[in-house]
């Protein structure tokens, strides 16, 4: 729920596009091929074959693959896919070697699935008397830009657990209790997380299901969340998606090609001093399930809705401006407007990369739509990213009357898997 959290504009993205000799701006308009290129650029600096096709193929049908290997994990700066399945796991094993083996097994499975292949020996053709290695519901589907991004929760670094207590990064904090939080412990936290993003929900769900299955006995699913209708984009040239309140959200998100902004606000630098050098090239993730009081919001007058956000509903333009991407004039907004409070200028420059998705889990027992925003924020340091922004929002945001944070988790996102011999978390366990 924090709009305008980026100081950099679309101009930077254009410049980056020109610099790499990439496609024309028109060709970057969100079709599959361009998405692949942006994802590749972000994931490993290797720009895959670019085509300047302008064929209007929906992303899920073009279904290209995002490279799995790279300096950073895919699924952060990668052009945001349409669907999400996010899962948090408790680690059940007490054996460090077993945990390491699991991460290796997960990595090998992820390599295959992100390439559009089934895990292990596949879904068919094996021994008829035994269940197949892969459950098969993604057979025949394209890779659909599937990315799998793994994270390590604070619990993994607990004393007397896996001998990692000296390696917990200072930036991986336990989040404070923010005013208004109503967190369900059963749907919060976790020792490990996997974020699966894809243009096809079946592909994302399949991926989490295979990893959960490989993990049984070593890990147990603690909670998970499905998401649709990305609420922010890391490709600023795409139309900004609307959230469940009907507003364009995340207009000024960091561009996946803006390497300067990514280095400054998202990726952990190489020179860590607190035993967390293993995090170089990684990032930190805050996940929050934000329930919206949809029915109450829908009864709110249009003017009030626009005042609450600080943008107009039709165009998404900031107060007093006419275009969505016009520089917001914060002082023109009400002091407690959401955009004003979330803006970097209000938060000493605090900037995060958002990857949120809308969710609707049917209705609650009272017949109210159980819907809202599954907020995913990546940043170089949680203390300098999410925390100051959320402190500000939790204290004053007028939107709080219509939303409630009901689930919360924080994870260290290790750097990318470099090659076929590398695995998620190798540097941590080295």
């Amino acid at each position: 729920m924090s709009d305008d959290t980026n100081t950099t504009g679309a101009a930077t993205a254009d410049a980056a596009g020109e610099a790499t000799g990439g496609p024309s701006r028109r060709a970057v308009l969100g079709w599959g091929g361009a998405g692949l290129a942006l994802g590749a650029a972000a994931a490993g600096g290797t720009v895959a074959a670019l085509t300047d096709t302008t064929d209007a193929v929906p992303a899920a049908l073009s279904g290209s693959a995002v490279p799995f290997h790279g300096k950073h994990q895919a699924g952060i700066a990668t052009a945001v896919q349409d669907r999400l399945h996010f899962a948090a796991f408790d680690v059940k094993t007490k054996d460090r070697a077993e945990l390491v083996q699991l991460l290796k097994d997960w990595t090998r499975a992820a390599e295959r699935m992100t390439a559009g292949l089934p895990v292990g020996e596949g879904a068919v053709g094996g021994l008829p008397q035994a269940p197949p290695d892969d459950t098969g519901e993604a057979l025949g589907l394209k890779p659909s830009r599937l990315t799998l991004t793994v994270g390590f929760g604070p619990g993994l670094f607990a004393k007397d657990r896996f001998g990692l207590e000296g390696r917990r990064p200072e930036a991986l904090i336990d989040l404070e209790a923010f005013p208004g939080d109503n967190l369900d412990p059963a749907k919060s936290g976790g020792d490990l997380c996997v974020q699966a993003c894809a243009d096809d929900p079946q592909v994302a769900v399949h991926a989490i299901r295979q990893l959960a299955r490989i993990g049984f006995g070593k890990t147990a699913v603690r909670w998970s969340q499905l998401g649709f209708g990305k609420t922010s984009s890391t490709t600023p040239d795409e139309q900004t998606p609307r959230n469940m309140m009907g507003f364009k959200d995340g207009t000024r998100n960091i561009s996946g090609t803006d390497t300067a902004a990514l280095d400054k606000h998202v990726w952990v630098a190489d020179e860590a001093k607190d035993g967390s050098a293993w995090m170089a090239g990684g990032s930190y993730l805050v996940a929050r399930r934000i329930r919206m009081n949809i029915e109450i919001w829908d009864r709110t007058p249009l003017q009030e809705q626009e005042d609450i956000f600080g943008r107009d509903k039709a165009e998404g333009a900031p107060v007093g401006k006419s275009k969505e991407r016009d520089e917001p004039f914060l002082k023109a907004m009400k002091p407690e407007a959401h955009v004003r409070l979330a803006h970097p200028d209000t938060n000493n420059g605090a900037t995060i990369l958002r990857r949120g998705y809308s969710f609707t889990d049917g209705t609650d027992g009272l017949g109210r739509l159980d819907a809202g925003l599954f907020f995913l924020a990546y940043q170089r340091d949680v203390r300098k990213g999410f925390v100051p922004i959320q402190r500000n929002l939790a204290k004053s945001d007028v939107l709080n009357e219509y939303i409630q944070h009901v689930s919360s988790a924080v994870f260290a996102i290790p750097p990318g898997v470099r090659d076929k011999d590398d695995w998620w978390g190798r540097a941590l366990f080295a």
Partner: protein, 382 residues
Amino acid sequence: MRPARLTVLTAVAAVAALTAVTGCAEKSGAGDGAVKIAASDSACEVSKTEFPAGKVTLEVENKGSKVTEVYVLFPDDRIVAERENIGPGTKASITAEIKAGDYEIACKPGMKGDGIRQKVKATGNGAVEKRSPELDAAVAEYRKYVQEQADQTLPKAQAFADAVKAGDVEAAKKAYAASRIGWERTEPVAESFGDIDPKVDVREDGLEAGQDPAKDWTGWHRLEKALWVDNKIGDDEKKLADTLITDLTDWQKKVGQAEITPTSMANGAKELLDEVASGKVTGEEERYSHTDLVDFKANVEGAQKAYELLKPVAAKNDPALSAELDKQFAAMNTLLDKYRADKNGYEFTSYETVGPDQRKELSDAVSALGEPLSKLAAAVAK
């Protein structure tokens, strides 16, 4: 008991059928050697009534207007193989390992009743699946175990029935869970006699459309409801106690003849964990008495027995799997022990008092054991 579940035998048959469909196994004999069955609403025509024993493929075509199912039965109605849900105008194939002897093929248009029967004969000593002496011994031991469980169940069930008939609610409640242990340990085999399970172990919501709970609901759970919900025993319940004993005696007589193979043993062990996952961990099975943990323990014991007997072979073929299974069975048993004071007794905590976090912990343990257990059949079949 879950309605319409796959029995051990049908699971094997379904797997075999899938093999034939996908064409991934060795030549299935689906060509000229196949027995063709033309099923209609009023007929069940079999292309040949005599065929060589061994691996037999039945090619079924439903020419009728109703969904049908086709069974291969022993003369005493035990199921050799079956295929359900064959839609009008569709074809299906059933592959089964059939020894020399007399059989009946039954088509059941509308999937109801005894079906339209045809007598058939398997002749010669066709190549029945080769087995190792070790696996033969495992099967023989398991058959013995299953019989013992039935033999031990009868007196306990009798004690329960006697208490019901005496109108002694408290004594009946005490005897209830114990009377089910042997059944729960061997449930997949017990279920392979399709008619006994619905008589003794069906839950109220397992009744089929048109069945009346007052008339058609029999067995343990009907009595469970009378004891814990109504807290009284009427004449109907006293009669049902006798019926339960009659049905269990039938089971005791038949159980020794169940078709058991090494892979059906392995998959039966996995099915016992499935039972735990679907019915016990949710508290559905014993919703009135809350004695779910007794069933839970019995299911795990039955699975462990089958595993231990197969272990010499499994450990050779897949040492990592058997190490994992040893570990997960031990973890499961340790966890269950938290819910009973006497490690040799079957007095478990009422499931009503087991909180959501504890249920999650139990469910995680079931997944941790069930997943590797699903690979046991492959390790045995290698």
